[in-house]
Amino acid sequence: MYEGVVQDLIDELGRLPGVGPKSAQRIAFHLLQSDAADVKRLADALTEVKAKVRFCEICGNVAEGEQCRICLDARRDGSAICVVEEPKDVVAIERTREFRGRYHVLGGAISPIDGVGPDDLRIKELMTRLASGEVTEIIIATDPNLEGEATASYLARLLGPMGLKVSRLASGLPVGGDLEYADEVTLGRAFEGRRLLDV
């Protein structure tokens, strides 16, 4: 145990995800040995991120204003919405440069065992967006795990009767991997989603 503010800093750092007591102590002493200007820059960044960043009122992505840059961008295709679990998934899909539509962040996936049901996600907000009639295609990009699949099947049942084109991101073999290490479910999905080659 250290005294006063040093221990307070270690305690606060230790509350961060993935940071244990030893790591918290190491970060705290690194900050103590750093230049005051560097530490101030970090403190300002922390304060600003809480003051400025909020969630986009349309899609739920992180934004510095009321709407995120993707919802404000008039060049994006408004007829397609990609539904993701978290804002970090938006960044992952944006890195591919394959999708030019808009997003909808659910804020998680349905997980009854953790007490998360459909009403705890931003599904009502998605239905509200669809009411305008502009959207014709929904791409469900929830995680390829059990919760993500169940969320996708729930959304598919909800959106199916609306006459929209509803698709799910393909599951299959990761590029660069060996076939023999693929598990049965992944390999089965790769077979289900196989594509014709141009010959």
Binding site: I110, D114, D119, K124, E149, A150, P174, E184, V185, T186
Partner: protein, 278 residues
Amino acid sequence: MPLYRDQAIVLRTQKLGEADRIVTLFTRSLGKVRVVGKGVRRTKSRFGARLEPGMMVDVQCYEGRNLDTVTQAETLAPYGDAIARDYTAYTAASAMLETCDRLTEEREPALQQYLLLAGALRSLAERSHDPALVLDAYLLRALAIAGWAPSFHDCARCGAEGPHRAFNLASGGSVCPMCRPPGSAAPAPETLELLAALLAGDWVVADGSDPRHRREGSGLTSAYLQWHLERGIRSLRLVDRETRVDTRRSDSPAVELGGHADRPSTTPVAPAQTGHRA
């Protein structure tokens, strides 16, 4: 025993650190164990979908100081994958896995519970019966194995031959007019017949039951389970409950019980009451 191998059903997973997960396994011969799956959240993980809830796997783990670590896993039956494609089956499976997690203790072998869970998951994956019926059958039988077998025919208190009209959670099921405590529910006789069929595995009777009695039976089963466990099962609230069946008769106090519905709803639904303690 630094290294061991066993058949197991994945009960639940929790995120750990950057890309790991704590996986709760219900093994055939060791009982429930908590293990670390290293790197399982990475897309290139060699475990892939093998350590997802509801999967039946052949695992090899080595013992650690606090948690064991999975070193190998092979799929025996990918129930979880088939179940996740059907939302109703998924919510029923979640309730079964959570109940199993509650009913079993770490490192205490429970072969009957293991076989029961495996059979119930297979039934859900193969769409053999209505998921709500499979769930109720599982819950009743899991409670019976744990020592809380309900009686749906003879009096649970004095053993007087039934059928009896009253049902009391605290007494352990049907009660005769002489033993009937105040506040007992009076479900429809067909509901008690359905529950007895689910407990005994009489699927001809169960599959031919009326939806009204299924809803009432689901409510009684949930209340009975949660009364005995003394804590709520979180997943039960999300088993698409939308019907609130009032089992009151002229002389019994209100018992609001939820039922399983078979379609998703985005409207908030009040959690089922955990019954009364008469």
